[in-house]
Symmetry: C2
C-alpha cells in the first residue's frame, strides 16, 4: 500500500487488475476471503469505483473472484480459477510460482505437446514447413541466449501448433507458450544454458517434415523433457 504511482498516469485499469490478480494468486487474499467493499478498496487503491469494479470484472471473468449483491466480492476456491488463462499464467509466474505449479505445467506439456507434434506431422503443409525451417535457421544463427533467438524458438513452436489444424490445441498451446517464455527467464537466471537445445529441435522438425507422426511425438517428448531438466525439477516419472 501507499506506493505512489507517479508516472503511470492512465492505463490504471489494467494495472489494478494485474496487481489484484497477483495478490490473489500469491495468497495475499485466501480463497473464501472477501475483499473490502468496492468503495473501500477503490479508495485504498486511489482509483475510482468504476476503475476498481472493471478490474474486478476482469478477475471474475478469469474465475479468480465471485461477487454477488450483498454478499460482497470474495476470492473463489482455487479449483475455479482458470489456471490456463494467459493472464493467470503470467500472474502466477510474477509471484514466484511453487514447484508444484511448474511440475504440473510440465506434466501438461508432456501430455499435450507430443500429441500435437504427432498431429502436426500428419497435417502440416508446405507453407508450415517453410516457416518452421526459417524459424529453426534463425534459432541456429542467433542462439537461444538473445531475444531474437528466443523469439524464433517461440515462432517455431507456434507454427508447429498451428499445423495441427486444431483450434483448441492452438489456443491451449498459446497459453502455455506464454508461460514457457517466462520460465525461460527462470532458466537463464539459474544456470547458463548447460544444454544445446538445437539438436532436439532439428530432430523434431525432421520428423514433422518427413511426415512421421510417431517420430515427431517422440522427438517432442525428448525436447520437453530436456526443457524440464533445465528447470532443476527432475522428480518427474
Amino acid at each position: 500500500m501507499s506506493t505512489r504511482q507517479e508516472a503511470p498516469a492512465l492505463r490504471i485499469h489494467g494495472t489494478i487488475a494485474r496487481d489484484l490478480g497477483i495478490a490473489i494468486i500469491a495468497g495475499t487474499y485466501a480463497p473464501g476471503e472477501l475483499l473490502p467493499g468496492d468503495i473501500a478498496s477503490a479508495g485504498q487503491l486511489k482509483v475510482s469505483r468504476t476503475a476498481y469494479r472493471e478490474a474486478v470484472r476482469i478477475l471474475a471473468a478469469k474465475g479468480l473472484v465471485e461477487s454477488r449483491p450483498k454478499a460482497g466480492t470474495r476470492v473463489s476456491p482455487m479449483s475455479r480459477w482458470h489456471l490456463l488463462d494467459p493472464d493467470v499464467i503470467a500472474w502466477s509466474l510474477q509471484g514466484q510460482p511453487g514447484e508444484d505449479w511448474i511440475r504440473d505445467l510440465f506434466e501438461l506439456r508432456l501430455t499435450v505437446e507430443p500429441a500435437a507434434a504427432e498431429l502436426a506431422a500428419r497435417r502440416r503443409d508446405a507453407g508450415d514447413l517453410v516457416e518452421m525451417k526459417a524459424a529453426l535457421d534463425a534459432m541456429a544463427q542467433h542462439g537461444l541466449a538473445v531475444p531474437e533467438g528466443q523469439a524464433a524458438d517461440q515462432r517455431f513452436h507456434h507454427v508447429l501448433m498451428r499445423a495441427t489444424r486444431n483450434a483448441h490445441l492452438i489456443s491451449l498451446s498459446s497459453s502455455i507458450e506464454a508461460a514457457v517464455a517466462w520460465t525461460t527467464i527462470f532458466k537463464q537466471r539459474n544456470r547458463a544454458l548447460p544444454r544445446d537445445p538445437m539438436p532436439d529441435h532439428v530432430a523434431l522438425f525432421d520428423a514433422v517434415a518427413a511426415g512421421k507422426p510417431a517420430a515427431a511425438r517422440k522427438a517432442m517428448t525428448v525436447l520437453v523433457r530436456g526443457a524440464l531438466s533445465d528447470t532443476e525439477l527432475s522428480f518427474l516419472p
Copy 2:
C-alpha cells in the same frame, strides 16, 4: 435485436456480455470488425455506458475483443480467443458449433483424458476410489437418461481428474466437462443413446482402482472414442 427482457430485471451485465460473446463467436461480428462506440452500443442495448463497458471488459478478458483509446473496440482474430475458457465454450455451444469445433474438442479429449487417467491410476488414494465408486453406482442406478445419472457421470470424471493431483489438468478438464455436459444434450437429441456406456466406465474404474496406469489410459481412450461415435462424427483417425 429488440428482444424485450421483461423478467430478468437486474443481472443485465452478465446477460449483455453473454449475448455479445455469442454474437461474436457466431460470426455476427467478424474478426477485425469494430463494434459501435460504447456510447452508441450502450444506447442500442438500452443499458448505461458503465454496464456496457464492464461487459466489454469481460469479453476482453477472454480474448474476444481488444479495445484501445481512439481506435475503438474491435473483435480480435480468432487465434487470440481463449477457446478453453468455460464461458467461451458455453457460448460456442449456444450457437450451434461447427463440426470442426466438436472434432477439435474430441481430439483434445483424446489427448488429455487418457493421460489424466494414467496419472490418476498412479496417484489416487482411498478417498478418491470411494467417491468414484459411489458415483459409478449412482450412474448404474439412475441411468444416463436422467439428470441424476448425468450428474453422477460428471462427478465420476471430476473426481478422476482431481485424483491426478495436477491443478492445471483439473482446470483444463473442468472446462471440458462443461462442454461435455452440453454435447451430451446434443447426443440425446439425435439418437436415443444407442450404446451402454457403463461397461467402459466400469473398466476405467477397475484400472484406476487396481493402480494400472496403462490399462487406465486404454480404458479412457475407449470411453472417449465411444462418446465420440455417439456424436455422429466418425471421421477421426
